[in-house]
Subunit: 259 residues, 2 copies
C-alpha cells in the first residue's frame, strides 16, 4: 500500500533564492518535504536558498525543477492554485482551511496532491490556474495585498498541519479517484486539436481564453481515468465517427449518388 504523502509545493517562476529557502524552512516547520520549482528565474541550485533555509535543507536537496506547470503537476490528482487575484475563470474559490480539509481527504485516500504558487512579481498565469481544481484565496486585507511568497506557503502549510494534528476528516467522495493531471491534459489537448481542425477557435486571438474556459469547466468535474478514456472516445466519435457508422453513412451517400 502506498504511504500517504503530504501535499507538494509547486513554485512557478520563483525569483528570489532567499524566498525559496524561506519556503523550504516553513515546509519543514509544518511537515512538508516535496518542493517543485518551475523555471526558477536565476537557475537552480542557488546557494542563497540553502542559506535562507536555516537548516531545513532536505526540501531543497530533493527539489525538482520543471520547464512547465504541466510537467510539474503531471502525477498529481488534485492541484489548487493559491492566488489573491480574482480571475475570469469559473473555478471554486476556497479558503486555505477548506483547501487543507480537501487535500487531507485526498491524501488519506492515497492520492498525490499539490499547491501551486506564483512567482513574487507576476503571480500565476490564467492558463496555469486553469489546470487546477480550485483557487485558494487568503483572507487578505484589501488595503494591503502584497503577501510574501513564503508567508503564503506558511499559512497553507499551517492549515495542512492542523488537519494532521486533529485527524483527517472523513472521506466524502466514493468511487474511483480522479485521474492524474497528465491524463487530463491528454484529454484537453485531444479535444483542442480536434476543435482546432473543426475551426472552433474563432477568432484565433481568442483561442487561449477559450481553451482556459474549456479546461477549467471540465476540470471541475474531476474525471476518473475511466471517464477520461470515455471522453476521449466521445471526442473521437464526434470528430471521426466510428468505423461502421461511417461506412453506413458512406454507403447511403453512394446510393444517393447513384440514384
Amino acid at each position: 500500500m502506498e504511504t500517504a504523502r503530504p501535499p507538494c509545493i509547486i513554485l512557478n517562476v520563483p525569483q528570489l533564492a532567499q524566498n525559496i529557502g524561506a519556503v523550504a524552512r516553513v515546509m519543514a516547520n509544518f511537515g512538508l518535504a516535496d518542493l517543485r520549482l518551475v523555471n526558477p528565474r536565476d537557475g537552480w541550485p542557488q546557494e542563497r536558498a540553502w542559506a535562507a533555509a536555516s537548516g531545513a535543507e532536505w526540501p531543497l536537496n530533493a527539489a525538482r525543477v520543471y520547464e512547465s506547470v504541466e510537467d510539474a503537476i503531471a502525477d498529481l490528482h488534485l492541484v489548487y492554485a493559491t492566488t489573491a487575484r480574482p480571475r475570469e475563470l469559473q473555478l471554486p474559490v476556497i479558503t486555505p482551511r477548506e483547501a487543507a480539509a480537501n487535500l487531507s481527504r485526498e491524501v488519506a485516500g492515497g492520492r498525490a496532491v499539490g499547491l501551486l504558487f506564483g512567482g513574487e512579481r507576476a503571480g500565476l498565469e490564467t492558463s496555469d490556474i486553469a489546470l487546477c481544481q480550485a483557487v485558494v484565496t487568503l483572507p487578505i486585507d484589501p488595503r494591503f495585498r502584497s503577501l510574501n511568497l513564503a508567508q503564503a506557503v506558511a499559512i497553507n502549510a499551517y492549515e495542512w498541519r492542523m488537519t494532521v494534528e486533529t485527524g483527517a476528516p472523513p472521506a466524502f467522495r466514493d468511487g474511483p479517484p480522479p485521474a492524474e493531471a497528465s491524463a487530463l491534459l491528454g484529454l484537453y489537448e485531444h479535444l483542442e486539436r480536434e476543435l482546432d481542425e473543426a475551426g472552433f477557435f474563432h477568432p484565433p486571438e481568442k483561442k487561449p481564453s477559450m481553451v482556459q474556459n474549456l479546461r477549467s469547466a471540465l476540470g471541475r468535474a474531476r474525471f476518473s481515468d475511466q471517464e477520461v478514456r470515455t471522453f476521449r472516445g466521445v471526442v473521437t466519435a464526434l470528430s471521426r465517427g466510428r468505423g461502421r457508422a461511417l461506412e453506413k453513412l458512406a454507403r447511403q451517400r453512394d446510393v444517393e449518388n447513384k440514384g
Copy 2:
C-alpha cells in the same frame, strides 16, 4: 464608545530589522496596525525594517518602543505569549485558532488585547510569559522547530483575520450560477444524438448505462448557462468535423468505384 481595536503585536528584543519589517508587512496583510517593540537589539528606527516592509509602512511609523514587557503590555486586558517551547509555568496552552477566537471575543467587548513574541534567538523569558494569560503554541513538526519570527506572527494574524472575515465572508466570487437542469438536458441530448449518429453507443443494449455515465460525469462540473452554450458549440464543431471525414471517405470510395 471605544472602537474595537485589533490585537497589538509585541516583539520582545527583536534582533533583525528585516524581521521587524516582515512582521509589519504581514500585520498589514491581515489588518493589524499596532506594533510594539521591547528593546530592539539594534535600536530604533532602523532603515532596513522599512525596506523589508514592502510598503507596509504605517505599523513601522507608528511603532512604539518600550524598555520592558511590563511597560509594553500595561494597557492591555489580555495578552497571550506565543512560544513553541514547553514551559514550567501553569498556563493554559492553546492553538492560534483558539487564541484568535478568544481575542476576538475580548475585542468585541471593547478590550485591548495583544500577542507577545520572543526575539529570534532567545525567545521569551519565563518571567515574561508569566505576565500572560495563556501560551499559544503552533502545530510545528517536532523534527524542525525553527520558525521564523514573521511566520509566527503571520499565522496568528491570519487566524485573527479569519475571525474578522467569518462574520462577513470575503468577496469570494461566486461566478455565474449553475445552469438549470433543462439547459443541461438540452446539452446532454444534443451530445447523445450526435454520438448515436457516430455509432458511439455500442453495443446498443449498453447505451442507457453509457448515457448515465456521461451525464453524471459532466454534471459534476456544474456548468453555467454560458458554459452549456460553449459545450453545445463544441459538440456542433466536432460533429461537423465528422462531416468532413465522411466527405473524405466518400471521395475515396468514388475513386475506388471509378477505378
